[in-house]
C-alpha cells in the first residue's frame, strides 16, 4: 500500500495539470480510506469529508476567479495551474499527516480539522487579493506604510506576546494564537519591492538595510532566530536581484557570519542549538533529543516507510509543526520524503519563472522576494532536521500546523498568481 503513495507523487511530476488534480484526489481518498479503516472514528470521517470539500471547492473557486481574458488575444488563461496544483498537493499531504498524528483525538481537539478550516479561510482571502490589489492601485509606492505597520506589529509582539516553544512570537486574540511575524513577512516583501522599484542609490540601500537590521535584531531578542535569518536572507537576495551587485551581497554575508559568531558567544540558547546541530548523538538526552528522534523517524523504516498508521511518528518533539517532515518520511518512506522536497523545489522554480516572466520591475522583485522567503524557510527547517544547519523553529510551508503560516503562505501564492496573470496580459485583473 505504501508503494501506491509513492506512485502518486512520482507520477505527479510527469503528467499534465488535469491529471495532477486527479492524482491529488486519489491520494486524498486512498489515505483517508486507510485512516478511517484504522481508526473507525467518526471524527476522521468528518475531517475526510471537510478536506475533500475544501479541495474540490477551492479548485473550482481558483479556476473561476483566476480565469481572465487576455487582452491581446481572445484567449482565456486560468492562472498558473501547476503552481496551484503543487500547493494543493502539499496541503493535502499536510492534512492527511495531521489527521494521522492526531488520529485518536476527538474532533474538537483535532489539528487536522483546524488546519482545514484555516486553509479555507486562507484560500478565501487569497481569492480576494486580486480585488485588493486592484483597489490599491499604486501599492508599490506605499513604502512608509509598510515600515510603520511592520514596526507596530513586531513591537506589539514583544510587548504583548506570549512565549511558546521557546520563542516569543505569538499574540493571543480571542483565544486564537496568531503569529505576527508571518504577516510582517508579507509586508516586508511588499516593502522591498517598493523601495527597490527603481534601481536604488546608496541612501535607499542604507535606509532599507537599517530597517531590515532592526527587524532582525528585534526578532533575535524575542528568540525567533529562524525568523531573523529569513528576513535577513530575503533582504540579501532581493537586494542582489535589484542591484546585481555581488560585492554588496558578499559583504552582507560576511557581516552576517561575524554577527552569528558574536551571537554564539553571547547567547546561551544559540550555543544549545549549535551543540545539538554538531553532534546530536552526544547530547542525545538533552539538546540533541529532538533531532535524534527525528533521525529515528526518518531512518527506521527505510525508503518505503512503515506504511500509514504503522509507524510511531508521535515519538517526536513538536511533530505537528517543525518536525512534521520526519513523520511523513517515517510512514510514507524517505523516498517519498525526497520526492516531497522535489515538490517544493518545483513550486519555487515555478515561482522564479513567474518572477522572471514579468516585465514590471517591482512585480518581479515582489515575486523574487516571495519565492526567496518561502524557499529559504523550507531550506531552514529541512536543513535543521537533517543537521545541515542548526535547528530553528520555523514551519514547513503548507504542511506544518499553524493558522498564521497557512494564511500567510497561501496569500503569498495568491500574490504570485496575480503577478503571473498580470504578466500574461491580464491587465484588468
Amino acid at each position: 500500500m505504501r508503494y501506491v503513495f509513492l506512485f502518486y507523487i512520482v507520477a505527479f511530476f510527469f503528467v499534465n495539470e488535469s491529471k495532477q488534480k486527479l492524482l491529488i484526489l486519489a491520494f486524498h481518498l486512498t489515505a483517508f480510506t486507510i485512516l478511517i479503516h484504522d481508526s473507525r472514528s467518526a471524527s476522521v470521517v468528518s475531517i475526510a469529508a471537510a478536506s475533500l470539500i475544501l479541495l474540490v471547492a477551492a479548485n473550482f473557486a481558483v479556476k473561476y476567479i483566476y480565469s481572465t481574458d487576455v487582452s491581446s488575444s481572445k484567449e482565456k488563461i486560468n492562472g498558473n495551474e501547476k503552481l496551484w496544483n503543487d500547493a494543493a498537493f502539499l496541503m493535502t499531504i499536510g492534512i492527511v499527516t495531521l489527521t494521522r498524528l492526531t488520529i485518536t483525538r476527538p474532533l474538537g481537539d483535532s489539528l487536522a480539522l483546524m488546519q482545514t478550516l484555516w486553509f479555507a479561510v486562507a484560500i478565501t482571502a487569497m481569492l480576494a487579493i486580486p480585488l485588493a490589489l486592484k483597489i490599491v492601485r499604486k501599492f508599490e509606492k506605499l513604502t512608509y506604510i509598510y515600515v510603520l505597520v511592520s514596526i507596530l506589529l513586531i513591537s506589539s509582539t514583544l510587548l504583548l506576546g506570549q512565549e511558546q516553544y521557546g520563542a516569543v512570537n505569538w499574540i493571543m486574540i480571542a483565544g486564537i494564537s496568531f503569529q505576527a511575524s508571518e504577516f510582517v513577512k508579507i509586508l516586508f516583501v511588499f516593502y522591498l519591492a517598493s523601495v527597490f522599484r527603481k534601481p536604488p542609490d546608496y541612501k535607499k540601500i542604507i535606509v532599507s538595510g537599517t530597517f531590515t537590521a532592526t527587524i532582525v535584531l528585534l526578532l533575535v531578542l524575542s528568540v525567533d532566530l529562524g525568523g531573523a535569518l529569513i528576513f535577513f536572507i530575503t533582504y540579501m537576495l532581493v537586494l542582489y536581484a535589484a542591484t546585481g551587485n555581488i560585492f554588496l551581497f558578499s559583504a552582507g554575508m560576511i557581516s552576517a557570519s561575524v554577527a552569528a559568531y558574536v551571537a554564539y558567544e553571547l547567547f546561551p540558547h544559540i550555543r544549545v542549538r549549535v551543540n545539538a546541530w554538531r553532534d546530536p548523538w552526544r547530547y542525545i538526552d538533552t539538546d540533541g533529543y529532538q533531532i535524534a528522534l527525528g533521525f529515528f523517524s526518518i531512518g527506521t523504516f527505510g525508503i518505503f516507510g512503515s506504511g500509514l498508521t504503522l509507524g510511531d511518528p508521535n515519538f517526536n518533539a513538536v511533530v505537528e509543526r517543525d518536525m512534521i517532515f520526519v513523520a511523513i518520511s517515517e510512514e510514507f518512506g524517505s523516498l517519498f520524503g525526497g520526492m516531497l522536497i522535489l515538490l517544493y523545489l518545483n513550486m519555487f522554480y515555478k515561482g522564479m519563472q513567474i518572477a522572471m516572466g514579468t516585465t514590471n520591475r517591482s512585480h518581479s522583485l515582489l515575486a523574487t522576494g516571495i519565492v526567496s522567503m518561502m524557499a529559504f524557510q523550507t531550506f531552514l527547517i529541512l536543513g535543521g532536521i537533517l543537521t545541515v544547519v542548526p535547528l530553528t523553529g520555523v514551519t514547513l510551508p503548507l504542511i506544518s500546523y499553524g493558522g498564521s503560516s497557512v494564511v500567510a503562505t497561501i496569500a503569498k501564492l495568491g500574490v504570485l498568481q496575480w503577478i503571473y496573470i498580470r504578466s500574461q496580459g491580464g491587465e484588468n485583473f
Binding site: 548523538w281 542525545i284 538526552d285 528522534l293 531512518g299 527506521t300 515519538f315
Partner: protein, 444 residues
Amino acid sequence: MFGVILFFLFRFVFFESHYVISNPFNRRIHLIDSNIVRGDIFDRNGTVLATTVSRNGINEREYPFPTQFSHLIGYITGGRTGIESNYNFSLQNLYLEMLQRTYQIIFNTPLRGNSLVLTVDADLQLVAYEQLAGRNGAIVAIEPSTGQILSMVSFPDFNLNTLQNDWAQVSTDTINSPLLNRATQGLYPPGSIYKIITALAAIDSGMGDFTFVCTGEAVFNDSSIRCFNNIAHGYLDMESAFAHSCNTYFAALALELGYDRLIQSSEEFLFNSVLSYSLEYNIPRFNLTEFSEESELIQTSIGQGRTLTTALHMAMITSGIANNGIIMTPYVVQHELTFNGNIRNRELPGMLTRATTSENAEIMTSMMIEVVERGTGTTARINGVQIAAKTGTAEVGNAESHGWFVAFAPAKNPEIAVAVVLENAGGSVPAQIIAREIIQHALG
C-alpha cells in the same frame, strides 16, 4: 541549496541510518511486528538455539535448550534483555523487503526476518553448563585472537520456554536473582586474580626483580595482611610469589609501586571503562585514588578493597595476556543470515585496546604457566597441554569466599581464554576443575 538538503537526506538514509536506528533511545526497536516471522538464532556451527514455530496458527518462539543459553538469548516479554531484545530489529528486518512482500501477496509465503549466527559454540556451552552443575556463578570463554565469545553461562537461570508464565515468580526472586546475567553483570571482588595487574604494573615500572621474604603474615603501618592459611612462603621472587599467590609479597610490592602505577595499570586493563560489548553488562569498578588510605592500596593490590569485576571483564583481561597484550573487542553475533541464505553485517574482529606490551605479556604468560606447573593451579593440569592461569579466592565479608580461576591454553598460540567465578566456593579448586574440563573439550 536544496541539492544540499537532498544530499544530506540521501546520505543519512543510505549510509548512516543503519547505525543510528539501533540506538536504545529509539523506542521503535522494541516494536514487534506479528506479521513477520522472527529470524532464528544459531550457534557458530548451525545448531538452533531459538526458532519460531507455528502452533494453532500463532507464531511462538521455541528454545531447544530451555536454560543453557538463557541470559545470552534473553527475552522481550516482561522485560527486555539479551539478543532477543538488542537485536530485535535485525530479527524482524526483512531482507529484500519488496520481494518478500510481493511473494507474500502472490504465494502467501511468510515474511521472514533475518536470522543470527552467534560466535558461541553450543557443545562447549553445554559442557560448561554441566560443569557448573547448578552452583551459583558464571563462566565466560573467549577466543583471544578475535574477541569472539565461545561460551557464556550464568547460574541461577530461568526457562526461556516458560518465561512468560514464570515471570511473576522469577522477576521477584531476590534470593536467587535468576534474571541477572552473572557473567556480564555480576560484580565480584577479583581476589588474587587481580595480582595479574599488580604484577604487570610492577614489571612495566622495572620492578620485575622485586624480592620479599614471606612469613605468612605482615604488618604495614596499621594494616596487617595474611597469606592463605597463614602459609609462610619464604624468600620469593615475583615468579614464585605469583605462582603461590603470596599476599604479603604483593602488598609490599604495591607499597613500593605506589598508587599511580597501580591505578594506571588497572585503567589500561579497562577498569572503569566501557567494554564495547553489544549486550548488557556492568562496567568493572576500581575506586583507588591517590588520596586513598594506605590500607586500601594494600587491599586493592591483592584484589580486595572496593575493586569489583565481572567474569566477562576477567575473560577479556586473560585474553589480552594471551593475545600479546592486545584485548580484542568482545562480540557474540557473527553475522546475520537472510531468509535466502545471504550473509549480512558480518562483524569483524577489532582491537579494543593495547593493555600491555607484548614483552610484558610474554613475561606474564610464563608466570601464569608456573601457576599451573607448580603453584596454586595444579588441579587444572592437562596432560600434553600447556596452560597459563591464575587462581583467586575473593573474601566476602562473613560469607564463604568466591572462587576464581582464569586461564588460557595452549600457552603458546592460545585458542581459548576462560574465566570462572563460583560464588561462595571457599577456594579456587572447584573453579579450576570446571576450567580444565572446558579447555579439554575445546582443544580436544
